[in-house]
């Protein structure tokens, strides 16, 4: 029996090693502008690696390039999940540099920002079709989720058969309405959180392990 147990343990260690050597899954963080994607990416990265992913801002399109944080190991209930987090620019169908002028920006800077934003959105769409293994879709729970961009993106994610976790972010805001998001996308589970305050992150990590492990 002892021999058999040792053999079983050896096989188990080898297979565990083989799986550990697997490429980490690339999980794209998607959503409309200003939903808190980078705040969430930073929260996850800081909790598990100690580093941040990128700068956060209330000005739309602060993230204008997809940024990857590699080998983020998340441990949940004795199970380890290794993922690459891809923080993507907020998806939209329009970008007007004039909206940046309202944020005390010179025209030249606003034009450059809008150009970078359009390149970033195009890049994000390309990642979604080609380069991610799963999606965390982040929504601001204090705003109306019934937008065309949300409808289209969820449709695109579903058509790719990608596992998708919907997060209702910004529950710390007074107008937060998580149920509205759950009603908008009843075919998916909706997890409430405040990435800024770190509220309900335990459940978020449990779901990440469950969906992408």
């Amino acid at each position: 029996m002892g021999l058999l147990t040792n053999l079983k343990d050896s096989i188990s260690r080898v297979t565990d090693g083989l799986f550990a050597a697997d490429e980490p899954k690339r999980i794209g963080i998607y959503g409309p502008p200003n939903a808190g994607k980078t705040t969430l990416a930073n929260r996850i990265a800081r909790d598990w690696t100690g580093d941040a992913v990128g700068p956060e801002s209330h000005i739309p399109h602060e993230t204008r390039r997809a940024r990857r944080k590699e080998n983020v190991e998340i441990e949940r209930n004795g199970r380890k999940v290794t993922i690459d987090i891809v923080d993507t620019p907020g998806v939209t169908t329009k970008v007007d540099y004039k909206e940046f002028l309202d944020h005390d920006m010179e025209k030249e800077d606003a034009v450059r920002r809008s150009r970078e934003a359009t390149e970033g959105v195009a890049e994000a769409m390309h990642w979604l079709r080609e380069d991610v293994d799963g999606v965390i879709y982040v929504l601001d729970s204090s705003t109306d989720p019934f937008t065309q961009v949300n409808t289209m993106l969820i449709g695109i994610i579903e058509s790719q058969d990608l596992p998708a976790l919907i997060l209702a972010n910004k529950t710390d805001l007074p107008g937060s309405d998580v149920q509205q998001i759950a009603n908008a996308f009843p075919q998916h589970e909706t997890i409430p959180l405040s990435a800024l305050e770190g509220e309900n992150m335990d459940e978020v990590y449990t779901k990440i392990a469950e969906y992408f492990g």
């Binding site: 329009k94 970008v95 007007d96 390149e119 769409m125 979604l128 065309q148 289209m152």
Partner: protein, 137 residues
Amino acid sequence: MSSPTPNADGGASSDDSDDGVRIDMISGARMEGLTGMEKIRLILDGVREGNIVILEEGLSPDEESKLIEVTMTEISPDDFTGIEIETYPKAETSNQSFLDKLMGRNSAQKLTVIGPANRIETLHKDENLISTLVSRK
């Protein structure tokens, strides 16, 4: 005023339509024989001329994804700020059968309205009604 010239979809150019808004209603049959990029080109060429494009049967998710991507590459300051696009919410169109999904068919066709972002504004949308305000140039 110059005489209207044919454009990509065989209609008249909207160069001379400063007094109104041109609406192109494109049937599913017309889109059926086109490739994904041809559909996107047809839509964006029309929208960039200031037209409102109404698709009888909409686009597939993959085509929608490419439409966003191509739109982003064409945005330029003081010229083209992108598109406004509206379809009915998914609840009305989620009845795609398993066989359709298996065969890659998009049976969940949905009326779709697309226009220049600076000229079209959605006033109301629900499962049965899309109400938009279209402004002149």
